[in-house]
Amino acid sequence: METAQTLIRPDLLNLTPEALRALLPYLVVFAGSVVALLFCVIRAFNPKWLVTWVAVVVCAAGGYLSSQQIGAPTQGLLNGMMVSDAFSSFFNIVFLACAGLTCLASVKYLDREKLQHPEYYVLVLFSALGMMLMTSALDLVVTFIALEIMSLAVYVLVGFRRADRKSNEAAIKYFILGSAASAIFLYGVALLFGATGTMNTREILSAIQAQPELVTPLFTLGAWLAILGFLFKVASVPFHMWMPDVYEGAPAPVTGFMTTGLKAAAFATLVRLVVGLGYGKGLTQMVQDHLHTIFWVIAALTMVVGNVVALTQTNLKRMLAYSSIAHTGYLLVGIVPGGVGGYGPVVMYLTSYAIMNLGAFVVLSILAKKDDSGLNLQDLSGLSQRRPWLAFALSVFLLSMAGIPPTAGFAAKYLLFYSAVQAGEIPLVIVGVLASAVSVYYYLRVLVFMYMKDPVESADGAAAPTGAFWASLVAASLVVLTFQVGFLPARLLEIAKRVALGL
């Protein structure tokens, strides 16, 4: 028999219209970033505003296309390497919204910082694409590559203020620790591959469900290392150390993008990973219990450490970084029980958190002075008198983070903890609420400075930047959203639940 055999399966390359439609958001974003890149390169256009708008339009288009997919049936794409389901479509919208709003809010900031390089927007688009792919991926290799697409872009964005030492330092720290964590994740994937013979989470799950003896030490180690890689990305204690430094050093809009888009992406992927590796419904009892304990401790530690350290911070960006760690802890509460019931609220929380945190950083980027200075608490003294609306917006976002009704943060936290109580995690919830009681203190301290102290006359006080129209608009719309979700959380919750159900 000389007939040359081939491993090529042409059927994989014949895309059905449904599959094409499912892939369309990704293609649009990719195409958009390439177009934007072209505009960067071709100097004939004035790319200053054009690239921005290309990015925004692309995000909007991608978001719209994704929203069309939410109701579509779940389908595996390209050999089941990725999946288009409600979960991925929903998060696509979140990522693209974050990216688009970040782009809009960055315009004035970049002008002020003399950083108006069009690459910025391209990189934001690339990272958004990475996020989208990462959340959609089923195959861990795809997850890894998407993770790297996102990360590489973000590494660069963090270091985007190239002349600033802090920015450089943040980028290099993030890069080194991030790469190490990637390596750990990858090591886990390798072990999983050995333990199950596949890298596709769907297949892994069905394999261990069919053959419980596959849950070997090797499998457990691999699974844990893979999960750990994402626990690093979402900055849960003790894998959180990089985060405050990076958040502080990165340009304010980028930090905002990271705390929202990147965090949501990492967390969404974590959820996929946790589900795919059988946590809660496929592991042997012993492994399940041990992993549960580990998650429990990490969640508790994350909530406590994040909040407690945030208490001592005086720089707003850094404080929000620690608060972001604390929020990771709350989110983990939704994962600890290991049931689908928890994931809906996690989705909801991620969305709400994205809204309020992005808002907070947009406000910070408006407030920031050269090289993101002027973001210490003292600098906010009397802000309510100087710039009442900004102060109000920031207050809303902070109170929402503190979980005070009637804001999105409260509704989301309520639902999250509620689901945990249902799952019987009452002690953890108690740790959570006590930790969030601590958090109230530092969020309110910002309000103290803004509302209760009188303005101090600083030397460059007169040069306070003004007139960031788009950023203000973004902030305002986010305030509205914060209240809307706070008052009427039912709709978002329904979507989130449906989204999580498909996992």
């Binding site: 055999q5 290799v141 872009a153 660069v156 180690l221």
Partner: protein
């Protein structure tokens, strides 16, 4: 595992030795060259495992491209500073790190030793691979069908990497223009 144990242990030993040199040598250039040696050892082991394409790429991409990049940067930067031999971090950290990694290694090895069940075997037996024309053929064919998505994504990744590297490393012309 039909791996020649003598060759394997020889290359493995060499790799470990060079890896240690990467870590322990003060001079980054020495580290870099040790790393190249590690890469070569790995290539040899890959070859022994019938992963010919990977072995080749190991030499080309790692030993060739990446290491050249490293050396290039080292040279680029080393010109500017007196001493580039920074050595190691302080002792407490070193000891802790040593203890820690050894412990971790022990834990990992324990895990490996206690695993007897592995995942299901795939279809890419030696015969099958031979049938499609060898390792390189098989890998390439897979790349354009089963693994088309990650393959395409690598292109995006590289594009992103290029844009990023350019954005971050190019001379700060914009700033100067602004001034």
């Amino acid at each position: 595992m039909d791996l020649n144990p003598y060759f394997f242990f020889a290359f493995a030993g060499l790799a470990v030795a060079f890896a240690l040199m990467v870590v322990l040598k003060k001079n980054p250039v020495a580290s870099a060259f040790s790393l190249v040696m590690v890469f070569f050892c790995f290539a040899a082991i890959y070859a022994m495992m019938n992963a010919h394409l990977v072995a080749t790429l190991q030499v080309l991409v790692y030993a060739g491209a990446i290491m050249v990049l490293f050396i290039f940067v080292i040279m680029l930067l080393a010109v500017d500073v007196e001493s580039f031999d920074l050595g190691r971090s302080h002792r407490g950290l070193r000891v802790t790190a040593g203890v820690m990694t050894s412990t971790l290694l022990a834990l990992f090895v324990w895990m490996f030793r206690n695993t007897s069940t592995f995942g299901k075997h795939g279809t890419h037996t030696l015969e099958q691979i031979q049938a499609v024309g060898g390792n390189t053929q098989a890998v390439s064919q897979l790349m354009f069908s089963d693994y088309i998505l990650p393959f395409e994504l690598t292109s995006v990744l590289l594009l992103a990497g290029i844009v990023g590297a350019v954005a971050i490393a190019k001379r700060q012309s914009a700033r100067k223009e602004a001034k």
